[in-house]
């Protein structure tokens, strides 16, 4: 059974067709890259998967470990093991980083039937994971994403991913706004979490990120549908010929 399965997903925003029958199957242990030009529906796809209000499917269905997501709210999807790393992480003034993380992790643990972590145990665990992500203690004391640099925001996203241990992670343009060094730190963080039990879907414009997070499969998204799938070599083809050649050929 695939970890994530999208079947013929159709979605409209403001009466405009955005996803037009998209299907995708992601098995455990796999990393998929979805590449596409601006306006192809990449962000819509990530919001739809995460369950944002207003991004409900018109038809089609999505399954996480065989369970339909249609009637599941965003919070339950996340507790069930779906994670979205945001392209633009949201600032939460007044919400401390550490208490936010703890609330999130304990929600997931509770769902999994595991014991919730007390404050001390949690802080210890968070610090351990944070240091691997080069996230300083001081950053965890600040309000979530407030005053963070672009690189810090993305590192904090991947830190959350590491703490929540999701089954399926969607990384939405995680490379945007990152310089080479930050890109490497973030990618290392993602790679460290790759294993045979989970799966990662990387959504990106550019091939660049895929030098660091090497995918097993690459899909080209255009006008609301996957028009071509292949191995990592497909990303190099995009880099060489642009999207236009591929789209015209399709």
């Amino acid at each position: 059974m695939p970890l994530l399965e999208i079947k013929n997903a159709k979605l409209k925003l403001d009466d405009k067709d955005i996803l037009k029958g998209l299907s995708l199957s992601v098995n455990s242990g796999e990393v998929h890259a979805i590449m596409g030009p601006n306006g192809s529906g990449k962000s819509t796809l990530s919001y739809m998967l995460a369950g944002r209000d207003g991004y409900e499917l018109e038809s089609g269905e999505v399954f996480l470990e065989g369970q339909s997501l249609s009637d599941m709210e965003a919070d339950k999807r996340a507790r069930s093991g779906l994670f979205l790393a945001f392209q633009y992480p949201v600032e939460l003034p007044g919400v401390g980083g550490m208490s936010f993380l703890r609330e999130a992790v304990n929600s997931r643990r509770k769902f999994l039937g595991e014991e919730e972590l007390d404050h001390l145990a949690f802080v210890k665990e968070a610090r351990k994971v944070a240091s691997k992500m080069f996230v300083k203690d001081e950053m965890l004391k600040r309000a979530v994403n407030v005053g963070f640099s672009g690189g810090e925001k993305k590192r904090f996203e991947i830190l959350q991913m590491a703490m929540l241990m999701p089954k399926v992670s969607i990384l939405d343009e995680t490379d945007s706004g990152l310089d080479v060094d930050a890109l490497k730190i973030v990618s290392d963080g993602v790679n460290e979490q790759r294993n045979e039990e989970n799966a990662i879907v990387v959504i990106t414009h550019y091939q660049r990120l895929l030098d660091y997070i090497v995918p097993d499969f690459v899909h080209i998204l255009s006008d609301g549908n996957i028009i071509k799938s292949g191995g990592p070599e497909l990303a190099l083809e995009v880099e060489k010929n642009g999207y236009v050649g591929l789209i015209n050929a399709a």
């Binding site: 995460a50 369950g51 944002r52 209000d53 709210e73 965003a74 919070d75 996340a78 507790r79 994670f83 979205l84 945001f86 992480p89 949201v90 939460l92 003034p93 007044g94 919400v95 936010f100 609330e103 999130a104 929600s107 997931r108 769902f111 309000a143 959350q160 929540l164």
Partner: protein
């Protein structure tokens, strides 16, 4: 002769005054009280007192033997108690050296009255009614160079149904003195009309915290008139959560250069409550700063009002005046009104104002939910952060937890009904 209910209150105020000496400031005040403000008056348009015109209320005669119900919330604080609007020395603490409490005589009371009558609070109903009916004007003085370390806790309580109470307090901080005062309003009366005059002399500094938590049927029309001298500092935070109708109105006159004023506040409103923070800040001289941050959370059919006026006189160059109000509506039937006003006659100033009224931001809510946090919990987290943010910015560190706990009680009541 038959009178309508409105006239009855005016008559009972005059009757009340007749208990006192003839040639009194009371008489002057009572003659000036002709009626409740009409909704046609701009500053009362958003907070209407029509209901008071239909209520049978009489000024209370203080009961000096009344049992008290409000306990101190701080270990070791110096307590000053007003019961039924009257100062109760027997229930108050002995004050530390350099501070004193006195009941003002006729002449000083008259002077105090004229300070109000010369201000733009001259027509405020509390000005005239409370100067008519207050048992006495009490003056708290902090002597020159005295920095009071003890927390002063002023507790106002008492009153009963169909009565009005009229506490009047005059606070004078002499040169280079400082103090932290918390005032708690816990009345049972139908109508509460507190008067407060604050005078800060050169380099004096006051941290003031007010918690309005009167009975759920009460009207509280608090009027505060503050004068700031050179290099003085007035840092005030009001938390309005109780009463049926609470309006805290503060007029601050910046009279000396380099003084600094913060008038921040939070209102937490539910059911059919009406909460109003009205301020007027008069920058009369150059080089002063004033800042107002007001936040509200509303549920039920409640209404919140923020009216803030900043007036910068032609000579008040280099003024820095900021106003910001934000309200979150948790119910479709709640209303928040914000009316920031800048009146600037000087040309070299920095003044800004902004106001937002809305729901919890979708982006923030979705972000929290996408981390597995339930919608209810996510809303709680966001609203709590919305308040914590301003409390931490406005209140001294040692008081932050107390204020936050006070806010949280009211907040949980709003949230439990709306989320």
């Amino acid at each position: 002769m038959l009178h309508n209910v409105r006239d009855n209150y005016i008559i009972s105020v005059k009757d009340h005054v007749s208990q006192f000496e003839e040639k009194s400031f009371r008489k002057l005040a009572s003659n000036d009280f002709k009626s409740w403000p009409s909704p046609r008056e701009e500053t009362w348009r958003l907070s209407r007192l029509g209901v008071l015109s239909r209520k049978e209320i009489t000024p209370i005669t203080p009961n000096f033997k009344k049992q008290i119900s409000s306990v101190s919330k701080f270990n070791g604080s110096k307590i000053i108690r007003f019961v039924d609007g009257a100062f109760r020395e027997d229930l108050s603490s002995k004050l530390p050296p350099g501070s004193s409490l006195n009941i003002l005589g006729e002449e000083d009371s008259l002077r105090c009255f004229h300070k109000f009558k010369d201000s733009n609070l001259k027509d405020h109903p509390s000005t005239n009614v409370s100067f008519s009916c207050t048992p006495s004007i009490v003056k708290l003085t902090i002597e020159k160079d005295v920095k009071i370390r003890d927390l002063f806790e002023i507790i106002y309580e008492g009153g009963d149904d169909d009565s009005s109470v009229h506490p009047a307090l005059y606070i004078e901080l002499k040169d280079k003195s400082s103090i932290t005062i918390i005032e708690r309003f816990n009345h049972l009366s139908s109508l509460i009309m507190p008067l407060q005059l604050v005078e800060l002399k050169k380099n004096a500094s006051i941290n003031s915290l007010k918690i309005f938590n009167d009975n759920q049927h009460s009207y509280n029309l608090s009027a505060n008139c503050t004068f700031l001298s050179e290099k003085s500092n007035y840092n005030s935070f009001s938390l309005i959560k109780g009463g049926l109708f609470t309006r805290s109105e503060t007029h601050a006159y910046l009279k000396g250069e380099n003084c600094n004023l913060n008038l921040n506040g939070v209102y937490l409103s539910s059911k059919n409550q009406h909460h109003d923070l009205t301020t007027a800040i008069y920058h009369d001289v150059p080089n002063c700063t004033s800042k107002q941050i007001v936040r509200g959370v509303l549920g039920g059919k409640s209404t919140g009002v923020f009216q803030g006026k900043v007036r910068v006189a032609p000579d008040a160059q280099k003024t820095d005046g900021q106003q910001m109000s934000k309200a979150i509506l948790l119910s479709e039937n709640a209303i928040a009104n914000a009316k920031p006003e800048l009146e600037i006659y000087a040309d070299d100033v920095i003044c800004a104002h902004g106001a937002t009224v809305g729901e919890i931001e979708d982006d923030q809510l979705f972000y929290l939910k996408s981390r597995g946090i339930s919608e209810k919990k996510a809303k709680q987290i966001l609203i709590t952060a919305f308040l914590k943010d301003i409390i931490n910015e406005s209140v001294t560190e040692s008081m932050q937890n107390f204020v936050f706990e006070e806010a949280e009680l009211a907040l949980s009541e709003i949230i439990s009904k709306e989320i």
